[in-house]
């Protein structure tokens, strides 16, 4: 069988990070090729290289497509030869109709005047191909996510697709919608269309994939041919996570005391679609001086859980109880949560954490202005001193605390956010992806700081998509999937394989 696509020795560097390092990928004509790997393994980056989002010249290595070496300048370029990517976040305009969306940027028009009759007729054909019966004039917003995903595929078909790339297409779909989508992929395959399927769901992959390529830390680990031999999920998981743990985490001896923070029967509904339950009856607790991890894939509901606890910053119709030192507390507003000694360090430091145009000093004092002011008048000297102390303690690299935070590196910005929350004097710290997007050196500093905080007797809840980080730091790890806790491991018994297995199989492990 011939090969439609070959990517050879692809390397891609972002400032300070090597995202792809010698990736090789070969897709045969008319097959479904799955690409798997942990968050951050480089799957999405690789697909962006392939589709021209990162144009030729910004990466090294060769892309051979249909026997020719290609140098794509942009997406239009790669689409013109039939490579079409469907991103995880759908690119549909909600208030336009199916027809309008199908031909967006590719209108059925002569001289700028749209031929609606032709458009509707073609739209109907395309909808039939993906098995949808909705009228083409339906607005996208009135369709469910599953149908929207099919519209995306219909859109790809309208462009005479030869190689279809799907990035986590079933991540937000329920089971029957997922099955319909997979069926469609098999049908397209029968028509000779090749696809690359990026997915975390190994059961789906074993259902449809002809080959599997595993990526880890930006490199190809292995490629399996599922037609030659049956590949067990365990083998794939091992390949996905199997890396040795070097000395990347500070040594710590946990001194764990009594239970301080406890969440009971926590249930949260989606703020816009209140009928959807985002967090399903979660119970957990954190003890004094303990670092508790929450593992899970993106979209598992970890951030939503954290934010809903922190003064109901997320969600609707929240029910459940939070206990602090054995007493039920009211955390219904962020101010109350802060006053009870809860701090939430966001995963999105630029979007949710910092006022970028302001200086370091003003950012650090923001959550606890009362401590640097008398009767609402800010004592600038005291504020400066506080900020300068944090600058020394946290080793924030800057010319002075009067520097604006927008000019700091990611690691230093993260230290400013942490300083802000430490200044609010919390007892329970919820750290959401505390090392996202920062370099290895700064990561170690943050880990050291987290250990110190635990040693001081604070309760730490650490949410992370990087499993080695959780295994290296935590005393206990909860595994979360689809809004529920699906496993709990003590540090001694936890392993990446066990966590991954708990996630992909959604089977409850350990005591719960």
């Amino acid at each position: 069988m011939s090969t439609i696509l070959e990517m050879r020795g692809i390397e891609k560097t972002f400032p300070g990070v090597k995202a792809l390092n010698n990736v090789n990928l070969a897709v045969r004509t008319g097959e479904i090729h799955a690409v798997v790997g942990e968050n951050g393994a480089g799957k999405s980056t690789l697909m962006k290289v392939l589709s021209g989002v990162y144009p030729h010249g910004t990466y090294s290595g060769d892309i051979v497509y249909q026997g020719q070496t290609r140098e794509f300048k942009d997406i239009v370029d790669s689409e013109s030869v039939g490579i079409i990517i469907i991103h995880q976040e759908l690119a549909l305009v909600p208030l336009l109709s199916i027809t309008e969306n199908l031909f967006l940027g590719n209108e059925q028009a002569t001289g700028g005047v749209i031929d609606w009759e032709l458009s509707y007729a073609r739209a109907k054909e395309l909808l039939a191909k993906v098995g949808l019966k909705d009228p083409p004039s339906t607005l996208i917003t009135n369709l469910g996510v599953g149908k929207q995903q099919l519209i995306e595929i219909a859109k790809a078909l309208s462009k005479e697709v030869k190689l279809l790339i799907l990035d986590e297409p079933t991540a937000s779909l329920n089971e029957s919608d997922s099955d319909a989508l997979l069926e469609l992929l098999l049908e397209l395959k029968a028509q000779g269309i090749s696809s690359i399927l990026i997915s975390h769901k190994l059961n789906e992959i074993s259902k449809v994939a002809d080959s599997i390529t595993v990526l880890r830390d930006g490199a190809t680990v292995d490629t399996f041919d599922c037609r030659k031999e049956a590949i067990s999920e365990d083998r794939i998981i091992q390949n996905m996570v199997g890396r040795e743990m070097a000395d990347r985490y500070p040594k710590r001896e946990p001194h764990i005391g009594e239970t301080i923070f406890e969440v009971k029967q926590w249930r949260v509904h989606h703020p816009i679609h209140p009928e959807r339950v985002v967090i399903k009856d979660i119970d957990f607790h954190v003890r004094k001086g303990e670092i508790v991890g929450i593992a899970g894939l993106m979209g598992a509901g970890r951030t939503e859980l954290a934010k809903s606890i922190f003064g109901r910053a997320y969600g609707a119709k929240i029910s459940g109880e939070v206990h602090l030192h054995g007493k039920k507390v009211d955390l219904s507003t962020i101010q109350k949560a802060i006053n009870h000694g809860i701090a939430y360090v966001t995963e999105d430091r630029k979007g949710d954490g910092l006022v970028l145009d302001e200086d370091i000093k003003k950012n650090i004092s923001l959550a606890n202005l009362a401590a640097v002011s008398d009767k609402s008048v800010i004592d600038e000297a005291r504020e400066f001193k506080v900020a300068d102390d944090f600058r020394n303690k946290m080793r924030i690299r800057c010319s002075s605390v009067l520097q604006r935070v927008v000019n700091l590196s990611g690691g230093n910005q993260q230290k400013v956010v942490l300083s802000k929350w430490l200044f609010s004097n919390p007892e329970v710290l919820i750290l959401d992806e505390p090392t996202r997007g920062i370099d290895v050196g700064a990561k170690f500093e943050i880990y050291t700081l987290i250990s110190q905080l635990a040693a001081e007797g604070k309760c730490i809840i650490m949410i992370s998509s990087e499993m080695p980080e959780l295994l290296g730091m935590c005393d206990r790890i909860y595994v979360m999937n689809e809004g529920q806790f699906v496993g709990q491991f003590d540090a001694a018994e936890a392993s990446q394989e066990k966590i991954m297995r708990a996630i992909v199989r959604n089977v409850k492990n350990g005591e719960h």
Binding site: A313, I338, T346, V355, E358
Partner: protein, 404 residues
């Protein structure tokens, strides 16, 4: 200085170092100094073009009286813009409050002090009514205040029944046309009290600045090079004294100037030094981060509108007192001057950035241009063209600086 005699090398090293520091500071604060310099340049330009008429005591007094209400509203508008909103209704509110005051004082013969109090409260309520929709229901401020603009323009017409209402009691007129009383017996051509008030204000400002600077140095938190600090503040104090001398040689300091100056000081303090001021900047700079830091962002936005309404009411009273009559047309188009003043003064349309002094300078840039061009005999048609281009140029300068 000693280095020059010891050897050449350290000097060569030291000078670029210092220059670099100055250059770096200038670059970071280009906007602020640039604004001040351009106001000075514009004043110098019109001083020459009008053969010295601009800076004559009589004209200067008029300049203050004509622009006081724009400056006062710019203080409130700055807070609204920094919080990430806009208020298009202020012009109509000026007209409405003027009409309300006229009806109360002329038709109902109410005491002018009580009238003033009622009008200020009415302004705050108008601000609250609009802020309520913006802050708690997240209706874009552009739309809410556009609606307010229409509503209060209509209510003005209704209140006045399409007529002009006046004149006002003498006491009320003094709000706008009065001058501070002379305490000394016959002092010749110069009003000594006014001059002394100016000198005292300059001295107090200088003392406060020096005290603050000393505190900064003590904690190692000074940013501005000493040369700049001294130069800026001495020049500023000198300008205040020169200005008060000019005013004193005509009728003295207008009451409005005192009100305006007091408000400038209060709002500078509020924005720089108080927690509520800090919160306004945080909400405008990053609402989500502010909210997650425990700030009640809705309430902060709401208060900026209440404040704006109150200041618009004050401006409405001053404007009515100045004309000594309330007309249905009063306030028309004021919102544009006020908003332009804030943007010329360096406020960011996306919120989070802007200074009280910037807005005041911006208001005076507009005011001096209006006044200067009128004296030069430029028609109202081209005046508007020129003002529009100046606004665009100032904001272009901002954006260009930011992207560089």
């Amino acid at each position: 200085m000693e280095n020059t005699e010891m050897s050449k090398k350290p000097t060569l090293d030291a000078i670029p170092e210092v220059k670099k520091e100055y250059a770096g500071f200038l670059k970071n604060n280009m906007r602020e100094y640039g604004m001040l310099l351009s106001l000075v340049a514009i004043m110098a330009f019109f001083q020459v073009m009008t053969d010295g008429t601009l800076m004559q005591p009589l004209n200067l007094t008029n300049l203050v009286l004509q622009n006081s209400y724009v400056v006062i509203m710019a203080l409130g508008m700055l807070m609204v813009i920094v919080a990430g909103h806009i208020d298009l209704s202020v012009g109509s509110v000026v007209g409405f409050i003027g009409a309300l005051a006229a009806v109360l004082m002329v038709n109902y013969e109410m005491n002018f002090i009580l009238t003033t109090v009622i009008c200020l409260i009415a302004g705050a309520l108008i601000g609250a009514a609009q802020g309520y929709w913006v802050a708690f229901f997240r209706i874009p401020s552009f739309i809410v205040t556009l609606a307010g603009m229409l509503v209060f323009k209509g209510l003005t017409l209704a209140l006045l029944e399409g007529q002009s209402v006046g004149p006002f009691p003498r006491g009320f007129q003094l709000l706008s046309s009065g001058f501070i009383p002379e305490l000394f017996a016959d002092t010749g051509s110069v009003r000594l009290t006014s001059l002394l008030v100016g000198v005292a204000a300059a001295a107090i400002l200088l003392a406060v600045k020096v005290h603050g600077r000393a505190k900064q140095v003590k904690h190692g938190m000074e940013e501005e090079p000493a040369v700049f600090f001294l130069l800026k503040n001495v020049l500023f104090a000198a300008a205040i004294i020169a200005f008060s001398y000019l005013m004193a040689s005509y009728k003295g300091m207008p009451n409005v100037l005192i009100i305006m100056f007091a408000l400038m000081v209060v709002y500078t303090f509020v924005t720089n030094r108080t927690t509520i001021g800090r919160r306004v900047y945080a909400v405008g700079g990053n609402e989500k981060a502010a909210k997650l830091s425990g700030i009640k962002t809705e309430r902060v936005s709401f208060y900026t509108f209440v404040n704006m309404g109150m200041l618009a009411a004050l401006a409405g009273l001053i404007f009515a007192a100045r004309l000594n009559t309330a007309t249905p047309k009063a306030g028309t188009g004021f919102e544009l001057d006020v908003i332009a003043a804030c943007f010329i003064g360096g406020a960011s349309a996306s919120g989070g950035v802007g200074k009280v002094m910037g807005a005041v300078i911006g208001a005076f840039v507009m005011g001096v241009m209006n006044n200067g061009m009128s004296i030069m005999g430029i028609g109202i048609d081209y005046q508007q063209v020129i003002k529009g281009l100046v606004l665009l140029a100032a904001v272009f300068f901002d954006v260009y600086n930011k992207n560089k």
